[in-house]
Amino acid sequence: MTNKKTPYTDDYKERYESHMRKKQQQRQNPLPTKSDAPITPIEKVEKIIEKEVKESEKIIQEVKEKMARLEGKAVKEITKIEEEIVKDGKKAEEFIINQKWVIIGSLLVIILIFAGIYLFTTPSVKAKYTPLDVVISNLSGMPSSVYFDGKNSFGLTGFESKLTYNNKQDRLFGNEQYKKIVFDEQGKAYSVISLDGEIRLEPLTTNPDEVTKIGWFSNPSQISLSESISWGKKQVSSILSSGAEVNSAELTYSLFKGRPYMKVEFSASAENSSNLGDFAFGLVIQNSDIYLDNGTILRNDNLIATLNKTVDTVIYENGNSSKNISETLENAVSQETDTSRQARKRSGSSYNLNPEYEIFYNQNTSRAIIVYSPESARYENLFLWNVFRVYIPYNEGYSPLYLAVLDNTQLSYDEQAGDWRITSNKIDEYARFYINQIVSELG
């Protein structure tokens, strides 16, 4: 046997060990990859993009984490607020349990409101005494309107009322609008009256005051009004004072609550009261026939027709009439009255009678107005003007006038009783009986 050292044994061992060492090194230091090899521009860009993507993903992740944290907080806060709301709601619900206090309080407030409006404010329309009321005024003509159930029914005016004193009869209160005075170019004065069919001019021959101021009283400042209301009774008065010949006069209306009738009284005083004569209550009643105590009916034939022409201006002088007027005079007249209006023609009958009473009956409304005075001398019925006067003689004073207004009334004459039977929703009696009842109640 030969101990031959093969030339490969030591070498092999060295080579093996060297190989193993290399391998180990390789493991530790891997062999260069392809990426270590010089990179192309595209690969560079790809690398950059990859890097940026990774960074973005990192940022997104961070943001997500932050958002998650914030969401958690927000949710907590929202939950807190919701809990508070629920709490408040529950508390509020606890407050409305006392509905009784709310209702009582509300009713009290409403009562206070209505009391306040009633006490501290005035209604736009003055309430009318019911069923009858009288509204008097201190306007020229001294008109007074009688209201029935709040609606204007008829009137009693100072202008249509007449008083006799010292055998001279004149209107109780004149109307300043009745007559005017105008002047022509030469300064001549004329009185102007506006009538239905013409405007009448007459030369002024007397004191102008005597022309324009007709009536025992003519200045509205001479009128004073008074009103008193007590339980169940209302009294209104027009008081005239500072008269020239008739020193003072007074018209008093007495109304009673719930009663469809009233009393009107007149009194006057003068220097020599014994010279006072008849006084006529002047009523203005439209669209009514007159039923007399003897069963006669006077039909209202009042007719006002409008003519197809303007009204003429006529001068009456020395018994002659003329339509020739100067321009100056025409202009002066047009300042005082409407000269361009249509002319009218008025017609109607007149009656002077002495019945015991009169009933004014409106066929359209079935309303009856009973007029009565215990000491009436006569009744002057002028359908031409729808003016009706009741003359009362002076006898140390004047007897009152009684007026009754009845709605939805039927009238039938009873020949046997010799009287009108009045049937309404209020009464079913003979006229005389009803009038006696009124007089005994009102005095």
Binding site: V102, I117, K128
Partner: protein, 136 residues
């Protein structure tokens, strides 16, 4: 700005809010009824109450109701036959009232009254049923 109120103060304020609301509702209904009566009896109404001041008070309480609102619970009730009957009755009543006011105009008053009644019925029904629709 949140006011920090005591329990008692909040109690009073809540009651006051409900009172304003309640008063406004009652006053509004009374005011509208008064206006309706005034159409037919103007002198009677105008002689009893000054309607201008009444209107001012209603407006004041309306403003208070808006400034201090009350939260109401929503009622999820659908329209019933009773509601329909009420709406139709009110429409007919409205038509009658319109006719009474306009009867002097002649034949056209019938047309206007009928249309008015129809509008009342339709609008009222629309409001009733529209509430149910929004909740769905």
């Amino acid at each position: 700005m949140k006011l920090h109120l005591s329990e008692k103060e909040r109690y009073i304020i809540e009651h006051a809010k409900h009172t304003f609301n309640y008063v406004f509702q009652i006053l509004l209904i009374l005011f509208l009824l008064t206006l309706l009566v005034q159409q037919f009896y103007p002198d009677f109404v105008n002689s009893k109450i000054n309607i201008n001041w009444f209107m001012i008070v209603v407006i004041v309480f309306g403003a208070l109701s808006i400034i201090f609102p009350v939260t109401h619970k929503k009622e999820d009730k659908p329209a019933t036959k009773k509601d329909l009957f009420l709406v139709i009755s009110l429409g007919i009543l409205g038509a009658i009232i319109i006719f009474l006011k306009l009867r002097n105009l002649g034949w056209i008053s019938y047309v206007i009254s009928a249309l008015g009644g129809l509008i009342i019925i339709l609008l009222s029904w629309m409001i009733l049923t529209e509430k149910d629709g929004e909740e769905k």
